[in-house]
């Protein structure tokens, strides 16, 4: 399988900084799509605004680069209008959990068949390094010059609590897991959330003296706890990599189709 077959080669090289995690996440989404034999003609990529949301422009599918935070509701309209389409949403931590936070929890609740990949680089990269709802407490950002006093969300716990039926976290170090989780997320007929823990060497890394992209990847490796279903506590000061939920439930477009069918029968 060649990743480039799924890319718009004439748009590359991409705009992202050297060592940015976005490309790593995107190439593994593509591997997942390829592994599942999804038809490119039948697969739509929807993104919001931010560094990671530029991904849509590079991916050779029907692609929709929307407004800040709104990728999920745009995608909801697409999926409702044509449930035969595979709809994959690519968003960032600011896009999905700050400005788009409301859409995130309601899509989780509704369980419409979308696969959301949140590229979490802990910062607003596109606007040059302001803190996001996923910036850890104490970290430095251009708008948290004395250290971030906000408490971050745990994105996966948020998704679980709100009702998403598939929830997992991979990373740009744990790439095989990441690919597998995206695959399973797509396979789940319902709302799937995959957090892709990523790196922003330019802003988050530099502001917090985390060194090169390699050092940042090593940081992910060294602070990861592989989730085994019982060790949530171990991940407290570190972070868990793994599959947290895979509990299929009634899917929204199918429920709606049942209404349509019942009205037909009633004629």
């Amino acid at each position: 399988m060649k990743t480039t077959e799924y890319l718009r080669e004439d748009k590359l090289p991409h705009i992202w900084c050297p060592g940015c995690g976005n490309g790593i996440v995107i190439s593994n989404i593509i591997r997942a799509v390829d592994a599942l034999n999804l038809k490119r003609e039948n697969t739509v990529i929807v993104s919001g605004i931010g560094c990671s949301s530029r991904a849509a422009g590079y991916m050779n599918f029907d692609t929709l680069h929307t407004t800040h935070g709104r990728a999920i509701p745009f995608a909801t309209g697409i999926k409702m209008a044509n449930p035969d389409l595979n709809v994959i949403v690519i968003s960032g931590d600011g896009d999905a959990t700050a400005i788009g936070g409301n859409h995130f929890i309601h899509a989780s609740r509704r369980n419409l068949d979308l696969t959301l990949i949140v590229v979490n680089n802990n910062i607003y990269g596109m606007t040059s390094g302001q803190y996001s709802p996923l910036t850890p407490t104490g970290k430095i950002a251009t708008t948290a010059p004395y250290g971030n006093i906000d408490r971050p969300f745990d994105l996966c716990e948020l998704a679980e609590a709100a009702g998403a039926t598939y929830v997992a976290r991979g990373s740009v170090y744990h790439v095989q897991q990441l690919k597998r989780y995206v695959e399973r997320g797509i396979q789940n007929k319902g709302f799937s959330v995959i957090e892709a823990l990523s790196i922003c060497p330019t802003y988050f890394g530099r502001k917090n003296k985390m060194g090169s992209p390699v050092k940042m990847l090593e940081g992910i490796r060294d602070n990861a706890v592989i989730y085994n279903g019982k060790n949530k506590e171990e991940g407290k000061d570190k972070f868990l990599i793994g599959e947290f939920k895979n509990e299929p439930d009634r899917e929204y477009t199918e429920s709606y189709q049942k209404i349509i069918d019942s009205l037909k029968e009633g004629k």
Partner: protein, 69 residues
């Protein structure tokens, strides 16, 4: 016999897309890759086990492994 097979793997590196971050070099379990003039280069191909970790972790879509059959 084994090394003959392995020598047939090939690492394609798209120099135009590579931004020289060094991730592929650092995490190659067999130290196959090096950075040369700010770009990745496959130097010790005979050691390559085609684990694809360089390809999977390349942020620039610049690496493709061709596995010997």
């Amino acid at each position: 016999m084994k090394s003959e097979m392995l020598q047939k793997h090939h690492i394609h590196i798209n120099q135009k897309w590579c931004k020289g971050c060094g991730i592929c070099v650092a995490f190659c379990p067999k130290k196959v890759l090096v950075l040369e003039k700010g770009k990745a280069k496959a130097e010790n191909m005979e050691d390559c086990i085609a684990c694809r970790m360089c390809e999977y972790r390349c942020p620039d879509f610049a690496i493709e492994i061709e596995v010997a059959k």
